[in-house]
């Protein structure tokens, strides 16, 4: 991707987006919103299996993923898409804001989360930033991720390489969870805006990496080390 999806306030490369949602009303509404703002909506899908299939075929820059998709959830689809297509980023767009779902999707590889009632401006900005490789955090997601790191640190099982946050990362995440924007955080901590973004991204990457290692270990321990995407 070259990370050049969007330059701040500058020229924009066309970002290809795929919209996954089981409500046609939403699918079309969001697709229209995005098209009006200059994004290229290359595909839509109404359920997880077809989302995975179509994503593999069209390889969009960004997948907007609803989590509540029926039998195979958006979490599963997120895991499959991000493991198959390393250049495609998944942004979760969920109505229910249910905590565990969102955390699972982010651990499975999603690069961010937005509530469905977010304004069109917020949505457009989030998609641009996702395409540029940034993590899109709401305050709520920051609270979940902080909690997850602390849960893992406190878990009694003696798994050696638990991911840990640096002091700076914890500080940044706490400020995100308290509603500060990246710019406000940069001002308060006297660091650059870019550094704040990097810290936030790094908290997600460590969590996702750990999740993949855990899944692989689980698969090997339980003799399931076949292609995970072979099952439907």
């Amino acid at each position: 991707m070259g990370g050049s999806g969007v330059q701040e306030g500058g020229g924009r490369m066309t970002v290809s987006v795929m919209v996954v949602d089981d409500h046609p009303m939403w699918r079309e509404g969001v697709a229209r919103d995005l098209q009006e703002r200059g994004f290229e909506v290359v595909a839509t899908a109404g359920d997880a299996p077809s989302a995975v299939r179509i994503a593999k075929a069209v390889r969009p820059n960004v997948v907007l993923m609803d989590l509540n998709l029926g039998e195979l959830s958006g979490v599963d689809a997120t895991a499959m898409i991000t493991s198959e297509l390393p250049d495609t980023r998944v942004l979760v767009l969920s109505a229910s804001g249910e905590h565990d779902d969102v955390l699972q999707a982010v651990k499975a590889g999603a690069s961010g989360y937005l509530v469905k009632s977010a304004s069109s401006e917020e949505l457009v900005e989030a998609v641009s930033r996702t395409a540029a490789g940034d993590a899109v955090f709401t305050a709520g997601l920051a609270g979940l991720v902080l909690g997850e790191y602390r849960r893992m640190a406190a878990a009694p099982d003696g798994s050696e390489e638990k991911p840990q946050l640096t002091d700076r990362e914890t500080e940044v995440l706490r400020l995100v969870a308290k509603g500060l924007t990246a710019r406000q955080i940069a001002n308060r901590l006297v660091i650059s805006h870019r550094t704040v973004e990097n810290h936030v991204q790094s908290t997600l990457r460590k969590l996702q990496l750990h999740n993949r290692v855990e899944l692989a270990r689980y698969a090997i321990e339980h003799g399931l080390d076949a292609e995970p995407e072979a099952e439907k």
Partner: protein
């Protein structure tokens, strides 16, 4: 493979007295061996040894047959168990024909069926409950008495033992059946609740989708639609809170999850962030913390105007809980809290500080003109402090 536990559950529910029947079968086999040993030991004194061996043969066949019958639900029925009782008593009544009077009256050699005869009483108890077991024991006891033809204290003891044992087994089987019915009811209720929850989730999700869409489009259209959008937005947040804040059980020692109470405080302008897992805290203190946050938020409403937003963050550090409340309002000018306290009308000093202190926690306030206000409350868990 995942079917197996379910099947086991239904089988147990089909006949909860199954363990008692297995016990009955084991008892039958053991007592038969005893009866065989008895015949071998005493056959030299028998008047009709051939009848003794024939009786033992019938007992053997009957033991095999009933063992098979009682291990299926098919055989656990009144006709078979009553035939069992009749046959046992009948075989027992042959004893005076087999044994000599000397054996019977002087040596007190056991009857031909000996303790094998107690099995129908146990089977009756397992099948029909306490009364049936008692009656079965009494019947067997009565035939023992008739076969001996002379009353004695030993006989009386046998009757009491037999009817008592039958009754106890009967009570056990009745209890097992009652529990099985209750368990089945509980399982059905649980399944129904799970199904209801599943339906509720999908309905909630659809409603949330519509509300979110109305809010979004309404704001874009503007005018009267913007008012509708605002109302839809409020309902959306309220419903989302309800879905997220599923009620949780309190633990045995009275701890409750802090999250649901806090999540209910969220509005379109107030974001509440919590971990995905439970944050347990002592119940009365948990309530205090929640009302403390509510106080801080109402303070935001009062002093920061309609447009101010607020964020609540709950963190669980293991030994302590951290609760932060931040707003993006104009901040509290220096000295304002103190002067308000002096006037005796502002809630902050008293409510928030006082509550935190009574919980043994610490309060930090970070504010300044144009910087918003941030409260950070830290309280230790009881177990961690000691």
């Amino acid at each position: 493979m995942p079917k197996e536990p379910a099947e086991r559950v239904t089988k147990v529910i089909d006949d909860p007295a199954t363990p008692l029947w297995r016990g009955t079968i084991a008892l039958r086999i053991v007592t038969f061996l005893f009866a065989a040993a008895n015949v071998i030991a005493n056959q030299s004194g028998y008047v009709r040894p051939w009848l003794a061996w024939t009786t033992l043969g019938v007992m053997a066949l009957w033991s095999v047959f009933t063992s098979r019958a009682y291990s299926t639900t098919w055989g656990r029925r009144w006709p078979l168990v009553l035939v069992d009782l009749a046959l046992t008593c009948g075989l027992m009544s042959l004893s005076p024909l087999i044994m000599s009077d000397h054996q019977l009256l002087v040596l007190h050699v056991p009857l031909i069926t000996t303790i094998w005869a107690c099995v129908p009483a146990v089977a009756l108890g397992a099948l029909g409950g306490a009364a049936a077991g008692f009656g079965g024991g009494l019947t067997v006891g009565l035939f023992t008495y008739l076969s001996h033809r002379s009353p004695s204290l030993d006989l009386l003891r046998d009757v009491v033992l037999l009817s008592g044992a039958g009754m106890v087994v009967g009570m056990a089987s009745a209890t097992a059946r009652r529990s099985a019915v209750l368990l089945a009811q509980a399982l059905r209720a649980e399944a129904a609740t799970a199904e209801r929850e599943r339906l509720a989730r999908s309905i909630h999700d659809s409603v949330l989708q519509v509300l979110a869409r109305v809010r979004k489009r309404g704001l874009e259209v503007g005018g009267e639609a913007a008012e509708l959008a605002r109302m839809a937005g409020e309902q959306e947040v309220a419903l989302r809170n309800l879905v997220a804040a599923a009620p949780t059980d309190s633990t045995v020692d009275g701890d409750i999850d802090l999250r649901p109470g806090l999540q209910m405080l969220a509005t379109p302008r107030i974001q509440v962030s919590t971990p995905a897992t439970q944050v347990m805290f002592e119940a009365p203190a948990a309530g205090e913390l929640t009302s403390l946050v509510r106080e801080a938020l109402s303070n935001v409403d009062k002093h920061c105007g309609e447009d101010a937003r607020a964020w609540v963050l709950l963190e669980d550090l293991g030994e302590e809980i951290v609760l932060s409340v931040r707003d993006d309002g104009p901040g509290i000018p220096e000295g304002r809290i103190a002067s308000a306290a002096a006037e005796g009308r502002m809630g902050i000093e008293k409510s928030i500080k006082g509550r935190v202190e009574s919980l043994g926690g610490t309060l930090e306030l970070q504010t300044g003109p144009g910087e918003g206000t941030e409260w950070e409350v830290r309280v230790f868990r009881k177990g961690a402090a000691g």
